[in-house]
């Protein structure tokens, strides 16, 4: 398998999961900051120019929720999705919500050009994105208050995906005081950062979260 990732992007979640399941893989760096995801070489991998992409036996799978579910199911022994179908459905629901609601709210702040064409129209889009994120983050906090993990009382592929958003929370586009405003989520992040698989993925990406 081959994972195309950009440091600190949502590719961090499948990156962690690849480390968790102990699958041999090649990590291919496609730094978004350099615009590498918009170069022909990467557009040949994913015409949408989005990170992550997973290559497996010559087939490319994109979209974080799909890659996360695929990896968990590829190695059921790693137990990263519940065997109970309804609980598995709850995990897929959480992945879908993070991707279609929380990630898109962040994109309003980080990439307003996806939502409006002209720069003078960016500020209200960014402002509303920020408000939407704060609402979503409050919901995540309240879910993790009854934690330690997001779904089914155990570590699943949802948890590394949450770590991505935590990372964005402390990052320069949001600059939230995560430790003060989201203490349950901060505890969750700390629990993840203690995992060797998470540490290996962060070291390879060259990023620190806390």
């Amino acid at each position: 398998m081959k994972l195309y990732y950009s440091p600190g992007a949502c590719s961090l979640a499948p990156h962690i999961v690849l480390e968790e399941i102990g699958e041999p893989f090649e990590a291919v760096r496609v730094p978004i900051g350099d615009g590498a995801h918009r170069q022909p070489a990467y557009l040949a991998i994913n015409p949408h120019g989005r990170i992550p992409a997973l290559e497996i036996d010559g087939t490319i799978i994109t979209e974080a929720p799909a890659i996360l579910a695929f990896l968990a199911r590829h190695r059921p022994d790693s137990d990263l999705l519940p065997a109970d179908p309804v609980q598995e459905g709850k995990c897929l629901e959480f992945l879908a919500w993070l991707s279609s609601s929380v990630h898109t709210a962040y994109a309003q702040v980080r990439r307003p050009e996806r939502y409006v064409d002209d720069e003078p129209d960016y500020p209200p889009v960014m402002e509303k994105g920020r408000a939407n994120i704060a609402r979503h983050f409050a919901e995540i906090e309240s879910i993790l208050e009854s934690g330690p993990y997001a779904v089914a009382g155990r570590y699943t592929v949802v948890d590394p995906f949450l770590l991505v958003f935590y990372h964005w929370g402390v990052g320069r586009y949001l600059s939230f005081d995560m430790a003060r405003d989201y203490p349950a989520w901060t505890q969750h992040a700390d629990a993840l950062l203690a995992r060797p698989a998470v540490q290996r993925a962060l070291a390879r990406e060259g990023i620190a979260i806390r």
Copy 2:
């Protein structure tokens, strides 16, 4: 099982799939047009106030991609997701893309208030949403040009989800000339409309697509 749906909303996809798998279910109408999804009765089901929601043994699963994958896996004999894990991953990828990119682009047109607070800021958001949808629809058309179905050369849960967007294409918020501009997709829609399960779901919702 109990499906909460609004006529013609993206709940149509799980509605069709419930008919396809022959699962006994109760269909609960929550018409978005009347704001029923924002009433306390429905917010108790899905606090996000979004349609669809599926109730199974007292547990609620929301988010169309999660419900579709859950239903297909609940009845593997119905063969609505490929048994091959990589092909299944391709289906999950398509569901995720429809939800996080195509649906959100439509929401810019249909619900600009999710993206900006003030009404004077709506037009550029709606305009860009329309342009994004046209780009996504062109991609869907080119995918369907090479197959009768979206993934793996066969009918999967992706196909009824596509029918939802086709329906929105002809609807009053987009008013695209789908037959003229998306002939392969129109053929796909016609193939779906010939299926008894699709006809039963449309009849219950009281909508016509073509």
